[in-house]
Amino acid sequence: MSRKLLTDFELMILLAVLRVSDAYGVPIAREIESTTGRSVVLGAVYAALDRLEERGFLASSVGDPTPERGGRARRYFRVTARGLRAVKDTQRALVALWSDLPELKAGGA
């Protein structure tokens, strides 16, 4: 099990990358916004993506430039095997913390 678990935002980023087919900044941010109801700043998304790539949880590749983007290329991301392990470890830890909480059971206060 990895010693360092993911922060909530990093976890959201990795899950969004897993959920979308062509994962670059815009659809990743949209996926987070639509599922969490939380507005995100693209700069923060890219900062997290860079951090996760440095840690080996993501790999990126650059696409072709397009005129809609002012001649700039997209940077696509995919989760690596190491990143997938980190997601599963974090999930296990969170599920363990969430389980058997009387306050969260049905009818609890």
Binding site: Y24, G25, V26, V41, L42, G43, A44, Y46, A47, D50, R51, V62, P65, T66, E68, R69, G70, R72, A73, R74, R75
Partner: protein
């Protein structure tokens, strides 16, 4: 597709303060074009500046410290030079090794003598007030250009160091009205930022051309 264009000022600020993130800029343009507002774009640009990746390695931090110190020394020198120049213009004898200044001083003294005491006082202050922003611009432009060329990956920190150094200029300004001190400081900062942005834009253009040629 929208007919409204993304704010050029916002994108220029992005180019100045965000290092090497063309995909992010492309995302902003793409998203703006589909469904977003100028307000959204500005929020994203400010966020991009704030959420830049942090520096982790010691050599980069050392580099920044050296850069900051060099900027302070350079601008302190300029501040002392500007202050001495203005002080001698208003009160003291001319600096012997600046022949251009001697020409200005002689012309200024002759004008003052013709006007008489109260008017000459106003004339001296007006002349110094006119020169102060011009000297600030002349000092800020090459400084910002040089620093931007040498430290292409530390835009925001470089400009932050310049802004702090400008306080030295303001503090050392003598015998000028407070409003002129503020104006000089403002002009100095504007000169630094504008010059740095021009240097950045030229660097990006050269890089793009190199990539295309390769």
């Amino acid at each position: 597709m929208k007919t409204q264009h993304p704010s050029r000022l916002a994108l220029a600020i992005f180019d100045c303060f965000v290092m090497d993130n063309e995909p992010l800029k492309g995302d902003l343009i793409e998203e703006f074009d589909i469904r977003r507002s100028q307000w959204w774009l500005w929020r994203q640009v400010i966020g991009a500046v704030v959420f830049q990746p942090r520096l982790h390695s010691l050599p980069e931090r050392t580099d920044l410290v050296v850069l900051g110190a060099a900027v302070l020394v350079l601008l302190s020198f300029e501040a002392v030079f500007i202050t001495n120049l203005l002080h001698h213009l208003l009160v003291g004898p001319p600096l012997p090794d600046i022949t251009a200044y001697l020409f200005i001083r002689e012309s200024f003294t002759a004008q003052s003598a013709r006007l008489g005491p109260p008017a000459s006082e106003v004339f001296r202050t007006a002349l110094a007030s006119m020169y102060a922003p011009l000297i600030a611009i002349a000092a800020s432009i090459p400084t910002a250009w040089l620093i931007s060329k040498f430290h292409q990956h530390h835009y925001a920190v470089s400009r932050g160091a310049f802004a702090l150094s400008v306080m030295v200029c303001t503090a050392l300004s003598l015998d000028l009205p407070f409003g002129i001190q503020l104006l000089t400081t403002f002009v100095f900062i504007v000169g630094l930022v504008m010059s740095g942005c021009v240097a950045t834009t030229i660097d990006h253009t050269v890089d793009q051309r190199s990539i295309r040629a390769a």
